[in-house]
């Protein structure tokens, strides 16, 4: 019996992961660079790109972590891939879904989490880009002084 949510299109999702062959190219310098930018922009100590495989999440790129994977059952990103919206946990200690999670109670001591699902085609979410902090916090637009200019042409609702 699994202790993590499973998307209804799990088979297609895993097939998409196989297509990307992420297990063959290992950690990506480009993705780690992207994580470094994300961490800097949001002022967090940890950021990672998590690819959620059948039983574990594998970090395709990361800053601030000293592991390259964790079990899926403890992965915050396993929840992020359930919808197409950002997944936010402002205080893991007070969230019954995560308060006993070893990633919260032990290293790296996650207290707040923002995950953006990585969708390669409509509904197929293979993982997440995450910003993680060791202290409780919110992730409102006001916290980020680097939001895109309104006239830059980027529309997050229309990827």
């Amino acid at each position: 019996m699994t202790s993590f949510p499973i998307p209804s299109n799990e088979r297609e999702r895993l097939k998409e992961l196989r297509r990307l062959r992420f297990d063959e190219w290992g950690a990506s310098a480009a993705l780690s660079e992207l994580c470094a930018i994300a961490a800097k922009l949001l002022g967090t100590s940890i950021s990672h790109v998590s690819l959620v495989d059948e039983n574990e999440q594998i970090f395709g790129g990361q800053v601030g972590l000293d592991v390259d994977r964790t079990a899926r059952e403890v992965a915050f990103c396993a929840h992020t891939i359930m919808t197409s919206k950002p997944f936010v946990v402002e205080n893991a200690d007070s969230d019954p879904r995560f308060s006993l999670n070893p990633l919260v109670t032990d290293k790296p001591g996650i207290k707040s989490y923002l995950g953006i699902p990585l969708e390669t085609s409509p509904g197929i979410r293979i993982g997440a880009l995450c910003a993680v902090d060791r202290k409780p916090r919110s992730f409102s637009e006001n916290d980020n002084p680097y939001s895109p200019r309104p006239d830059c042409g980027f529309n997050p609702q229309q990827p």
């Binding site: 990307l20 992420f22 190219w25 993705l31 992207l34 994300a38 953006i116 880009l129 990827p159």
Partner: protein, 281 residues
Amino acid sequence: MTTLIALGQIAVSILNSHSMSLELDEQLAGAIALQNDMLPSEARIAQIQAHCPLDLSSYCNQRDGIGGDIWGIEVTGPQRVMIYIADFTGHGVAAALNAARFHSFVHMIWQRTGRPEPLLRKLNQRLCEVLPTGQFATMFCATIDFVMETMEYASAGAPPQLYRASSQHPFEVISQSSLPLGILRDFPYESKAIPFHAGGALILYTDGLVETPKPPKSILTADRLREFLDKADQNKDADQLCQSLVGRLFAEPKTKAFDDVTLVIAKHTGSVRESIIDYEV
């Protein structure tokens, strides 16, 4: 948060590009293997060397993994071989596809001719039919007759090649004013016969050898190449000579070839062998 969503889209693009890159690498590896198969195999060279007094060595490096350089050797009669080198315009996939097509044409035509001039003429006609404007190939072709101790050659716009008649002779340039293949359908290519005795040698190369790095910084100009060969130890076999030439070219680790580079060294080792290899002319 909006910024992180934008970065997430970039992450997806990176993931897709990694996967595409892996796939392209695999396809390229397959194409490289196929193109290498078009060059004479070590087994075939050994077979020819066992029956002809010929010492042969080659170096072929396509700049993009695959490319438009190609060379070959065929047995055209008892104690007679035909050796050629060709270079298609451009680099990469398009040039490699042309080289593959060219390889088939050569194999079909040499069996009906066995001599340089008719081979070039017929190849030119064929290539004029199939090549788009702006694509062409340079080619140098020689037939070596070890019994008659002669070499007959013809060039189609190839750079000057180097040759010496025997171990007693210095290297000299052999060249012809001619057009590359695939430009003018009725161009009159010509063969020329010259002596080729024991100790003689033929050095075939594509322009990448004398244009690395790009001129005017080239390490081996045609003159320097001839000087190098004249000064080289006469006792060096073809492999050693080939290695020392390529070693000279890439002595500086920073040296980078901007073109495909092919070098073929054929040395006449002396006595004619009695056995005769299968040939199809």
